[in-house]
């Protein structure tokens, strides 16, 4: 029931025969059966991989791919990188709809359902995955669970990534907000945090903290989840107004009281932190390589516990197998082998700030020794994934609607009440939209 029957009744043999026939007629018969004999003659099996990593993590993926190619001459890995977000997802959807563009692709775990698990995405054969050493017991349980839809595994989780606190050690030392071991003090509650931010602001002369005000969803969802808020996105929007208002009011206050900029966009946010305009930054752990390359003396902690535990919004990069028009066990096997290798070698990946999903690496001594990953990795155990819906997840509509309306609480153009009303209207509209998957 899950599997979409391939629409045009054109079996592989038929097409090949047609091709071979055509070529034969042209006097080129020798090329006719090239594809089918590749494995038998020992030619490398091609693995066409599509990914969306263009930043510091992209460089690490290339490093891993080089190693994979060295270790596995029996495969011919052909990776293609597209721009993060919509540009990638558009190509993913269209490529998978065609059913023969690529063999394995990366995706955000939050988008697996929305991108068509069962229609565009084929299930991962668990037995093959287990052959290569990846089983339910070796992957972070919360991720495995989310990757399972209707009893089938649709994604192989590679990592967890989430929004965390960066701190400029030099600035924080002068502000007197470091522990004796050189880490940022742990705060609990709004006032406690604001005291720290005020002290940091004294030192920088500009701001205590900076966060992407044009991408407020990550902060909002972290705060809302700290309050224990839930969001139901079926038929009727289920949202706890009080908790949402409390979360939005925090964002309003932090900007209004001058502790954070009223506006800071995606490129401006890390620049403000790097230039010492703000001593702290709330941002995704993927900014780690950028700060390291800048030669900054900085540390990282979990998202501050403003309303409770130090929970942060996040997601997970996964590998998925796109739907195939014609089944090809050899290609699936090669792709699974590749994904398993990536998981087992994800210590390299962890250098870019992401927390490995593969438990033997996540619990290894090598990973424990990585700094500053050690300071925030505990938070990855309890990463707050986006709510479930076809329009939810990284770079999907829910996130962009939230980002667009919530910028107003930071810059003071709308009150938390107005923002919440606008957000609820936008989300209800998405719920009422006929789902395209």
């Amino acid at each position: 029931m899950n599997v979409d029957p391939p629409h045009p009744p054109l079996p592989g043999i038929g097409r090949r025969a047609l091709l071979a026939g055509g070529l034969g007629a042209a006097g080129l018969a020798l090329a006719g059966c090239g594809g089918t004999t590749a494995a038998a003659t020992g030619a490398p099996v091609p693995i066409r991989q599509w990914n969306l990593f263009t930043g510091g993590d992209g460089a690490r993926m290339v490093e891993m791919h080089d190693r994979f190619a060295d270790e596995h001459p029996e495969y011919d890995l052909r990776p293609t990188t597209y721009l993060w977000g919509n540009p990638y997802y558009t190509k993913f959807a269209m490529g998978a709809a065609g059913g023969r563009s690529f063999d394995i692709g990366t995706l955000h775990l939050s988008r697996v359902k929305g991108m068509g698990a069962g229609t565009l995405i084929d299930p991962v054969p668990r037995d093959v995955l287990a052959e290569f050493g990846i089983t339910e017991e070796t992957v972070r349980p919360a991720l495995w669970e989310k990757a399972t839809v209707d009893g089938e595994l649709y994604a192989i989780p590679l990592d967890t990534h989430l929004v965390v606190t960066y701190y400029n050690r030099e600035v924080c030392e002068q502000a007197g907000v470091l522990e004796s071991d050189g880490t940022l003090v742990r705060t609990s509650g709004v006032e406690d945090l604001f005291d720290v931010l005020a002290a940091v602001k004294e030192v920088t002369g500009h701001f205590g903290i900076v966060m992407d005000t044009t991408g407020a969803w990550r902060q909002f969802w972290s705060l809302y989840r700290q309050l224990g808020g839930e969001m139901a996105l079926e038929d009727e929007l289920g949202l706890d107004d009080d908790k949402a208002l409390q979360s939005l009011d925090f964002l309003r206050r932090v900007s209004e009281e001058g502790l954070a900029p009223k506006a800071s966009d995606a490129p401006g946010t890390p620049a403000r932190f790097q230039n010492g305009i703000a001593g702290l930054m709330l941002a995704g752990n993927w900014e780690l390589p950028t700060m390291q390359d800048a030669g900054m003396d900085f540390g990282m902690r979990p998202f501050p516990g403003v309303f409770g535990d130090e929970l942060g919004q996040g997601d997970s990069h996964v590998f998925v197998l796109p739907h195939r028009r014609e089944p090809d066990e050899e290609a699936v096997r090669a792709s699974v082998a590749y994904a398993a290798w990536m998981l087992k070698n994800s210590i390299i990946w962890a250098g870019g700030g992401h927390t490995p999903a593969y438990l033997p690496v996540a619990e290894s001594e090598d990973y424990a020794a990585l700094e500053p990953q050690a300071e925030y990795r505990a938070a990855a155990d309890d990463v707050q994934l986006d709510p479930d819906a076809w329009f939810s997840g990284s770079a999907a509509a829910l996130m962009s609607e939230a980002n667009s309306v919530m910028a107003g609480v930071h810059n003071g153009s709308s009150t938390p009440e107005e923002t919440l009303a606008a957000f609820k209207r936008a989300v209800q509209k998405l719920i009422d939209t006929p789902p395209p998957v």
Partner: protein
């Protein structure tokens, strides 16, 4: 469209029977065939890449086609009804129109001013031509990148200048009141060079005797500009305004890039093409986004027709 070839074929069979009549009709027949044959390649491409997609797009707007390729089904006017009731459609359409109103007058006036200036400043003409035109050569990604940093609050160049003058900072791209204006300013800086080039060429086509005669009759510089330059540039102005309005209505790239695809605070800088993109590609709803694109297509045609009518009327009365 298929009429001429059939006519040609018919005449061939006619003359085939009466070949003794001489070469006169044969030459005419060959000319008959040459026209359609020359038009054919273009006509084929036109049908294949314009008419067919246009028809396919219109059909798609009556279906619930999704980008993820599940079989679409016919939904009648559902998309169109949803569109009529969707405030974001009208809001983004207004954003596009507002942007056109904001950018077209300066893009025409500034271009003319710069062209006249270049025409007069003979000695530094090459330098002015180079500096006025060069921004137009930059790719949109570079332009956006430059201006995103210029507009940064706190450490951007523009706000640095404002605070240096003792003025308060403006949150250019971060405020819903200024974000579209900021994109408009960037666009003027970026694309004014093209209109400038058109005006410069037209100015060089005005014979200098006309000016000489006018000065002998005692016309001042301002009078010469108003009574000679402007009227003689009328046709150029018409084409510049038309091209500019169509270009401004098609706003997307710089708005998308300068707001990181977010459409700006509260979607204050999401043009209708941005909404078409979001509906079709973020939300995967190709059917619905086709309906919106047809609405927008109608608006562009209406605006162009109105503009064409205004200018031809002016020319006839003049």
């Amino acid at each position: 469209m298929t009429a001429p070839p059939t006519a040609g074929r018919a005449s061939r069979s006619d003359t085939g029977g009466t070949s003794a009549t001489g070469s006169e009709p044969r030459r005419a027949r060959r000319a008959d065939l040459a026209g359609p044959a020359l038009v054919l390649p273009f006509a084929l491409l036109f049908v294949l890449f314009l008419l067919w997609p246009l028809a396919a797009g219109l059909w798609t707007s009556f279906t619930d086609r999704s980008l993820v390729g599940t079989a679409p089904s016919f939904v009648g006017l559902d998309n169109w009804a949803e569109m009529a009731a969707d405030p974001m459609v009208w809001r983004s359409l207004w954003t596009t129109l507002l942007f056109t109103l904001l950018t077209t007058p300066p893009l025409v006036a500034v271009a003319l001013l710069m062209a006249v200036l270049t025409q007069r400043a003979v000695r530094v003409g090459w330098f002015l031509r180079f500096s006025f035109f060069s921004p137009f050569l930059l790719p949109v990604a570079v332009v956006s990148l430059i201006w995103v940093w210029i507009y940064q609050p706190g450490f951007g160049m523009l706000n640095g200048a404002l605070t240096g003058l003792g003025l308060p900072e403006v949150n250019w791209l971060g405020d819903e009141g200024t974000v579209l204006l900021s994109i408009a300013i960037t666009t003027v800086w970026w694309t004014v060079g093209f209109n400038y080039l058109l005006y410069l060429a037209a100015l060089q086509g005005i014979p200098s005797q006309v000016y000489e005669a006018a000065s002998l009759d005692g016309a001042g510089a301002w009078q010469r500009f108003r009574r000679i330059t402007l009227p003689l540039l009328n046709r150029t102005t018409a084409i510049v305004v038309l091209l500019q309005m169509v270009a401004s209505l098609k706003l997307f790239d710089q708005a998308y890039l300068m707001t990181n695809g977010s459409g700006g605070p509260d979607y204050a800088a999401r043009p209708i093409i941005g909404y078409i993109f979001d509906s079709g590609f973020t939300n995967l709803r190709i059917g619905y986004s086709s309906a919106i694109s047809y609405l927008f297509f109608a608006v562009i045609i209406a605006v162009s027709a109105l503009q064409f009518w205004l200018f031809t009327r002016k020319e006839n009365t003049a």
